[in-house]
């Protein structure tokens, strides 16, 4: 998987204390009992790490981790292109 996915996994493990064994690209945030408030924090951390503005609405609890990585990559690509 791409490095954004790896970043998400590392943040989920280190900051949100999720068990690495529970994580896979097709797991949703809802599966991990993470609601939109946790996602706001996750996006703020990713935003800091990648140095790119990411809207708080980019990812929702029903998205999978894999999909979240793609959505974040799209945002980064759009920001770099403009």
């Amino acid at each position: 998987m791409n490095s954004t996915y790896d970043r998400l996994v590392n943040i989920l493990v280190s900051r949100f204390e999720v068990d690495r064994a529970e994580l896979a690209p097709d797991v949703t945030f809802e599966d991990l009992d993470m609601d939109s408030l946790f996602l706001v924090e996750l996006l703020l951390v990713i935003q800091s790490e990648l140095g790119v503005e990411i809207s708080e609405d980019t990812v929702s609890p029903r998205d999978t981790i894999g999909r979240a990585a793609e959505l974040i990559d799209d945002t980064v690509a759009a920001a770099t292109a403009s």
């Binding site: 939109s36 408030l37 924090e41 703020l44 951390v45 708080e56």
Partner: protein
């Protein structure tokens, strides 16, 4: 110059289990907010009671029983009119002194400190009592799990006096800001002139406090980190020189994230939200008093204060912690 400090909590501690409903649990509340209990005012108690309690202790701590002005930061005044500060002043034996409320939600105490510093700088007052006091329990919607488990009641107060910038306890620069575009994110919709003049009766839930948690989290972290950096710049301090970070205790996840964002080690990030919840304008002075009493704040510490609240509003300040006489 900070020369006196005190705080007051109502007697009734309310653990998470007492508030847990079908949508929440002790674990749900702790993992999202870091809170395990808060204090609620009992029937018949008022914000002014808590303000007087904290104010009296701060005056005693300052070594003198009076001040020239009383500034009360609150968004839960005893009544919409008049302001609560004159009542608090009279009850503390200071009828005749300047007294006014400052309304800036959770940023209120910092705005209050800035107002007091202004009164001192203009020679209008030599000593000022600044109090943050709230009874949010009076406006919480028991059916709203995003707010009903977060807020608590309490008060904290400091006494400021005129002095020199290099004396211990001197307040450094301030950074204050607001954004009215966010005025719908943190509200008590009814009870003001807007609703009364709207021609439409208020719905029962309009009298309750409402907060858009997700958006507020987002704005709070961004505004507090920018404001904190601005004030550090004005003071000429590097982040590495900050000994203690005292941020508004909105949510443990926010305060920890903010510390990480600023580059302040977690060990320097003071917190008491687990035991008192989010006490809005009382949050910072309550934490300062507890930390001073418990020895986690020490004379000579370089302290960074930062807060964010409804309005939207935000503010930061720096100071070097003084030696304060024990209570």
């Amino acid at each position: 110059m900070l020369v006196g400090l005190g705080s007051c909590l109502p007697p009734r501690a309310v653990p998470n289990a007492e508030l847990a409903t079908s949508g929440t649990s002790d674990e749900w509340i702790r993992s999202r907010t870091g809170i395990r209990q808060r204090y609620f005012a009992s029937t018949g108690m008022t914000t002014s009671d808590l303000a007087v309690g904290a104010g009296a202790k701060a005056l005693k701590s300052s070594g003198q029983p009076t001040v020239d002005a009383i500034v009360l930061a609150t968004t839960t005044p005893d009544r919409p009119c008049p302001a609560t500060a004159p009542t608090v002043a009279t009850r503390l034996g200071m009828t005749g002194m300047a007294a006014f409320d400052v309304s800036a939600a959770c940023t209120g105490f910092i705005y209050g400190l800035a107002s007091a510093a202004g009164l001192i700088a203009t020679g209008t007052a030599d000593r000022v009592l600044v109090i943050g006091a709230e009874t949010y329990s009076s406006i919480l919607n028991p059916r709203d799990r995003t707010t009903s488990v977060i807020f608590g009641d309490g008060a904290g107060a400091v006494v400021l006096r005129a002095g020199d910038t290099d004396e211990p306890g001197a307040l450094g620069p301030f950074d204050l800001g607001s954004d009215g575009e966010g005025n719908e994110l943190i509200t008590v919709p009814a009870g003001g002139s807007q609703q009364r003049l709207s021609g439409v009766d208020a719905a029962p839930e309009d009298h309750y406090f409402a907060m858009a948690g997700k958006e507020v989290f987002w704005h709070a972290v961004r505004r507090m980190s920018a404001s904190a950096r601005a004030v550090l710049g004005r003071a000429g301090w590097q982040v590495s020189q900050v000994d203690k970070l005292v941020s508004h205790q909105a949510n443990l996840r926010i305060t920890n994230h903010l510390a990480d964002e600023l580059g302040v080690e977690r060990a320097r990030n003071l917190s008491n939200i687990d035991e008192v919840g989010n006490t809005a304008a009382a949050s910072i002075p309550l934490l300062l008093d507890q930390a001073n009493t418990r020895g986690t704040l020490n004379p000579g510490d370089r302290v960074l204060l930062t807060a964010f609240g409804g309005g939207l509003t935000w503010g930061s300040n720096v100071l070097t912690w003084p030696e304060l006489a024990p209570a």
